[in-house]
């Protein structure tokens, strides 16, 4: 469905995307992860044809974005991060408008609009203006607008930002259902659990490069450390970090404010030793957490940053 080869993009002298390559099979659900400024949005904008690529090639359903952008756009549905709807228009009118923009006729757009409203669970609010909707409902219509033309590839850029858990669950269920019905999905999010729930394969982007790519299991297997210990201290000193780093069973130490994430190969030995080093350094230990490694851990290990940084 999607093939990207050595895609590059610069803004002036700032190279934002530095040769990303990956491909997605038809019907696959793909998670694209990366901290802010990693190049995710630029990558998505180039796939959608909103930004021209400087180098490389993007092919969607056999059509090149560079040479046949209109046909590519017909196959893609984009759910932007922001609510890209007209607030003073009703939900139904918004959907009909976007349907027409995707090439549906008036009657087709009306029919499909009703179906989409049903799909996102907002039929009873069809005639209400978007500005009267809650954040979650707006998000659902925002997704609905991208579904009007039944796209082959649905690209969702953080579609659940700032919404209530109920709407979030509804959106996740909707996306899961769409994927199960055969729609190819690219999903970017700051919420690792969403990607974990929805996506079969995951790509992690940082500093304009794809630093990890594979299935969840493949990525977790890349983790060299068996366990992650999280220490919450009154403060974090460089002396303490150096002491911990020197321990033989410690793979990596990542700090954030008063929290230290320690990737270790032997949790039993590490807990006592790391707490002891903290006390020796004159630090007060507020809490200790031990957990199995997951995507979040991998992300932290690969980028040195947490996903929401």
């Amino acid at each position: 469905m999607l093939q990207i080869k050595d895609m590059k993009k610069s803004f002036g002298k700032n190279e934002v995307v530095k040769g990303i390559s990956f491909s997605i099979e038809k019907g696959e659900s793909f998670g694209l992860l990366g901290p802010n400024g990693a190049g995710k949005s630029t990558t998505i904008s180039m796939i959608c044809g909103l930004l021209p690529v400087d180098a490389g090639e993007i092919v969607v359903a056999g059509k090149s974005v560079k040479t046949d952008p209109m046909n590519v756009k017909k196959k893609i549905g984009v759910v932007p991060q922001d609510i890209a709807l007209y607030p003073t228009m009703s939900a139904k009118d918004n959907l009909i408008f976007w349907g027409k923009m995707y090439g549906l006729t008036g009657s087709q757009a009306k029919k499909r609009g009703a179906e989409v409203l049903e799909y996102v669970g907002l039929t009873e609010r069809a005639k209400d203006k978007i500005e009267t909707f809650s954040g979650g409902m707006k998000r659902r219509i925002n997704i609905g607008a991208a579904l009007m033309h039944k796209p082959e590839l649905l690209i969702m850029d953080e579609p659940t930002v700032g919404i209530d858990p109920q709407s979030r669950n509804h959106i996740l269920e909707t996306v899961k259902k769409l994927n199960q019905e055969g729609m190819t999905v690219i999903y970017t999010s700051h919420y690792m659990e969403e990607v974990d729930y929805l996506c079969e394969r995951i790509g992690i982007v940082d500093h304009g490069r794809m630093i990890a790519l594979g299935t969840k299991q493949e990525l977790c297997n890349r983790l060299t450390s068996g366990t992650v210990i999280t220490l919450e201290l009154n403060e974090v000193t460089s002396e303490f970090v150096t002491l911990v780093n020197d321990l033989p069973f410690v793979e990596q130490v990542v700090t954030k404010n008063e929290t230290v994430e320690i990737f270790v190969t032997d949790a039993n030995l590490a807990i006592g030793e790391t707490v002891s080093k903290a006390v020796t350094s004159g630090l007060a230990v507020q809490s200790v957490h031990v957990r199995e490694p997951n995507l979040e851990s991998l992300f932290l290990q690969l980028t040195g940053r947490s996903l929401r940084d």
Partner: protein, 404 residues
């Protein structure tokens, strides 16, 4: 065509925007009513001229003086506002003026037309009340107009007769000079009948329109101008709210998007103009001229020009705040310079020339021309200028249009 879908969407959004509706439709109607009523005494047109009692002192039974009094001052065209009163002497006339029993007096000397064959008339005396300048200027205008015509006709007939007399047919007796003189005299009589129509009513500038008509045209010109910023803001807003990015992610070409946004502004301007002209016509009895096709054409090309300018402004500025600033300052300057606040005729020549850079000047003068009756030929220049403004602005706007 997706551009029509975009335009229709924009039109609907604007029509449903109450604040915008008040600003763009109701405000010009209210201002037209206020300005038209407040300045009705200053301007001519439909407004009635003050009734002016004119005393006439005839110092003998001169034929020309009799013609002036009977066929001009007492003619049915002016007798609605000119009342003639015979006065026996100049002294008596002065006294009556002082007592405010008359507004002006004309003292016609004896043998007034004695030197007419030399192309001049004896000087008559016009007595006026300084406190009644409007009445004085009306009487002076009528009198001067009559004298000018008489002198012109006398001089031209004298020249024609001299030329004829010196011509070969006359010398050889082939031309009957008596018959020729009679024919010329007949033609001059026809000319005489048009004297009355040369009396003007102190109109605004050079055209005879009422203040209500003028300000209706001026408000239409000014408030349609606001479509420049409204149209530009609409595109900027689409950019800020990411709907523009979404539009560009659909299989819709850049040109269709730009043209759709342009058409949306054009549609609204046309609706605004149509509602305004119809409402002012029926509610305020504004006469927009006999030729409705001319009015509609000028309204359409002006809408085209402002819609084009909105696209130009949209690509030149980055933020809605800047558009508001342009709206606050730029349009007000254009409105003043283009004659929407005060008639252009009160401005110095340099400002009248500068007004040519404002689109509202072209549309305002066109409307005024149409109101007072004009030919299509006279409208070719303003229509061309407005079309060019629209085409050039839209072309630059389309060429420079970007997502960010």
């Amino acid at each position: 065509m997706k551009c029509f879908t975009i335009a229709w969407k924009d039109l609907n959004l604007r029509l449903k925007d109450r604040k915008g509706f008040l600003m763009m439709i109701l405000m010009p109607l209210i201002l037209t009513a206020i300005l038209g009523a407040a300045l009705s005494g200053v301007m001519g047109g439909d407004e009635k001229l003050p009734i002016t009692t004119v005393g006439v002192v005839l110092q003998d039974r001169d034929e020309l003086a009799k013609t002036f009094v009977e066929e001009v001052l007492k003619s049915k065209d002016v007798n609605e506002f000119i009342k003639v009163r015979s006065v026996s002497s100049e002294e008596k006339a002065r006294q009556l003026l002082k007592e405010e029993k008359m507004d002006a007096a004309i003292v016609i000397p004896a043998k007034w037309n004695e030197h007419l064959k030399d192309g001049r008339l004896k000087e008559l005396t016009l007595l006026t009340d300084p406190g009644k300048s409007l009445q004085a200027s009306i009487v002076e205008s009528i009198t001067t107009s009559f004298i000018d015509k008489v002198v012109t006709l006398a001089v031209s007939s004298k020249v024609v007769m001299e030329q004829l007399a010196a011509s070969t047919p006359a010398m050889t007796g082939k031309l009957d000079m008596g018959q020729a003189a009679t024919e010329i005299a007949g033609k001059l009589q026809v000319q005489k009948k048009t004297w009355e129509s040369t009396v003007s009513e102190t109109p605004i500038g050079k055209r005879s329109v009422s203040s209500s008509q003028y300000y209706a045209a001026a408000m239409a010109a000014m408030f349609l101008l606001y479509n420049i910023t409204i149209g530009a803001k609409s595109l900027l807003n689409e950019r800020e709210t990411e709907t523009l990015a979404r539009l560009m992610s659909t299989p819709t070409s850049r040109m269709q998007i730009v043209f759709g946004k342009f058409l949306g502004t054009f549609y609204f301007a046309v609706v605004q103009f149509t509602v305004f002209t119809i409402t002012t016509h029926f509610a305020f009895h504004i006469d927009w001229g006999k030729n409705i096709v001319q009015t509609a054409t000028v309204g359409l090309v002006y809408s085209f020009a402002v819609a084009g300018l909105s696209m130009l402004i949209a690509v030149l500025i980055k933020q809605e705040k800047t558009a508001d600033l342009i709206s606050g300052i730029g349009i007000q300057i254009s409105a003043v310079l283009g004659g929407s606040m005060l008639p252009l005729s009160v401005f110095p020549n340099i400002m009248q020339k500068m007004a040519n850079i404002t689109p509202n000047k072209w549309v305002l003068t066109s409307f005024i021309d149409i109101m007072s009756g004009t030919t299509w030929n006279a409208l070719v220049l303003p229509i061309t200028v407005l079309l060019m403004i629209g085409v050039i602005s839209l072309s630059i706007g389309s060429a420079k249009f970007k997502l960010q």
